[in-house]
Subunit: 138 residues, 2 copies
Amino acid sequence: MSAALSAIERFSRYQSDDAQSVRPVHCPVREVLDRIGDKWSILLVMTLATRPQRFSELHRAIRDISKRMLTQTLRDLERDGLITRHVFPTKPPSVEYCLSPLGQSLLEPMASLIDWADRRYSDIHAARVRFDGALCDA
Amino acid sequence: MSAALSAIERFSRYQSDDAQSVRPVHCPVREVLDRIGDKWSILLVMTLATRPQRFSELHRAIRDISKRMLTQTLRDLERDGLITRHVFPTKPPSVEYCLSPLGQSLLEPMASLIDWADRRYSDIHAARVRFDGALCDA
DNA sequence: CTCTAAGGTCTCTATGTGAGACCTGCCCTC
DNA sequence: GAGGGCAGGTCTCACATAGAGACCTTAGAG
């Protein structure tokens, strides 16, 4: 818990820069959220966690991502050094994506989030049902 | 690390249900990501971590969110039981948002992500510059 | 000769997001 | 008593992003 507190405190220091400051906030949390906080990044990193995979394997694993977004998200993750891309000169060429060490290092914090999701999912679902029920009554 | 491994394994069990299955995947990770994986949710939860805050305080703390999205994201977080909303009958009425116990429980996993963001941000930035430089050469 | 497969790109449309005007009630000042 | 401000929103419009699905290239199988 004290770990949580210190992280939160650090975060709020970034937040608290005065509104006068001309330069926009430069909060690493914001930057990283912008990167991995999109719809597919975390899912892709998680999927690559077990083993390197090829484009179409990934597409099969995450059936509801479009090729377009798969390409783009992989490119962005590569750009940020979280995954690496290897082209094998087979015919037709095959491309393998795998986590870089930096990407690997993301697994542990992500795991704790997944843990939370697993344990708390039922609570969230219950709250949602309750909320919608209350709306319906009103 | 073993914690990470077990979470990843659990995650991949959800992924591996066969494509034949008519019912869509029902992976808690997906559901929770859909919820807190949007642009503003994590930021709001983090901002409320230090203390309960009112609508316009939140708006000032996160200057680049529109009122529209602030309202909507708060509503969704409330719906999922992560925050609570109290209206005080002052004139004009003021509304306070604060983390529920469920929301509090999210802080610890989130803190580890923030920790990661803080420590690794410079690596990501470096990778990005390298990638863009390579593009420019080509 | 056609079909499939890999790893994409391209175009078109649907959905999400942001800016900013507006609303309601009350208090304050002029 | 007319106007202005604040609180917490809602509404509309315009634009950016995401998804669906056609298409491309090369090569091997039937």
